[in-house]
């Protein structure tokens, strides 16, 4: 029979863990709401940006800017967006595992795969496996801002234009809902043109100020920033969603555990009382004899 004191200690320890998980769940819920608001607020700009880029690019064609043109080369840059903190269920593990598998499966297909990593968790994962990381971005997820997206975009666009890689993909957790995230790989650039006919060549072209070429040169990097910002925001929302779910089930588990331990504790206490009674009774019997 388990020691009564040990069980009592265990219960109080589980209780304090439960307090923490419950608080973390509530904090995550609040942060999730804020992250969702940020996504919604950023949406109009992103949508307008995409419309304009698609409209201009459709009129200009692939050759108008290097970011639009598909290349022969086989060098890939992969941006992996993980989180800085853990305790978010399989949020990071699922993603890093998928990326690891991707690296192994596509080793032959690409000449070289360069990794860019957002988040401490991803950095730690690849460092443990001694997979080289070109650049890591830590601590940007606490308050995602446009300037963070800009810094990442500059590195990726710069490397692409300098010919260090020919294609850029991004691996991240897509935010589906508060309780559902999915690992996703998205091709970032060369920017794919939505080849729908509605904005075809018969549409009147814009007048450009200063010129189409210069506008594209300014517009496309900005577009990349917008995409990265969107993905960072989605990832943050997903992280909070995942943590909220994880902490919710942790809290539930601790409730079950406390119930089980309490039962055990009561049994143990009753057993002690029974033993004591038996001792007293048999002692009295012995005296009578």
């Amino acid at each position: 029979m388990a020691n009564l004191r040990a069980i009592r200690k265990r219960v109080s320890s589980v209780k304090s863990t439960q307090q923490i998980t419950r608080a973390m769940k509530m904090v995550s819920a609040a942060k999730l709401r804020r992250a969702q608001d940020a996504i919604n607020a950023a949406r109009p700009y992103a949508r307008r940006m995409r419309e304009v880029v698609q409209a201009v690019a459709a009129r200009a064609g692939e050759d108008a800017h290097p970011l639009l043109a598909a290349r022969e080369g086989k060098k890939l840059a992969l941006l992996v967006v993980t989180s800085d903190r853990g305790l978010a269920g399989s949020f990071n593990a699922g993603l890093t595992r998928a990326v690891h598998r991707f690296l192994i499966e596509h080793r032959g297909e690409y000449e070289e795969i360069t990794l860019f990593v957002v988040g401490r968790k991803g950095r730690d994962f690849f460092r443990r496996r001694e997979i080289p990381i070109r650049k890591e971005y830590l601590g940007v997820l606490g308050s995602v801002s446009h300037s963070h997206a800009e810094a990442i975009a500059n590195d990726l666009v710069g490397g692409f234009l300098a010919g260090e890689f020919d294609e850029v993909q991004i691996a991240f957790n897509e935010f589906r809902s508060a309780i559902s995230q999915a690992v996703r790989f998205e091709k970032m650039f060369p920017i794919a043109l939505e080849s729908s006919g509605k904005d075809g060549g018969d549409e009147v072209d814009y007048l450009y100020e200063p010129s189409r070429k210069e506008i594209l040169a300014a517009l496309l990097p900005k577009y990349v920033q917008t995409m990265i910002l969107r993905i960072l925001l989605e990832s943050v929302a997903g992280e909070h969603g995942a943590r909220m779910t994880a902490m919710d089930s942790a809290t539930n588990n601790s409730v079950d555990m406390i119930a089980r331990l309490t039962l055990q504790m009561n049994r143990a206490r009753q057993a002690t009382i029974t033993t004591e009674l038996t001792e007293i009774v048999s002692g009295a019997e012995a005296l009578k004899g």
Partner: protein, 135 residues
Amino acid sequence: MASTIRLELVTPERLVLSEEVDEVVLPGYEGEFGVLPGHTQYLAILNIGMLWYRKGSAVTRIALGGGFAEVNHDRVVVMADTAERSDEIDVERAQRARDRAEARLKELSMDDDTYAKAHAELERALVRMAAGGGE
């Protein structure tokens, strides 16, 4: 043809406004340009500068931190890096930012990497002051 234009102003952080207006003036790359209903399709890079629009006889000024504008017959979409309405601007803060930027510019030479950045900072501060009704 519509007699008003839909002006939509967005920044990466939020939708700033979406309104029917009579006239818009934007700080274009090669100088200010006005947009009235029925304007031709136009796509422009915007400088740091002031946007203003007229609705009836009411004029609103907004300080823009650069961006792009797409004009489409009866719609103007402004994608700005930053945008502050004149009534949101803290003029004193803008003045402090200007003083800071001026001080920094004095220390830097023209070929410093950060010169352009500091200069843009100064321009932004000046535009905000102007839009906010400062000196």
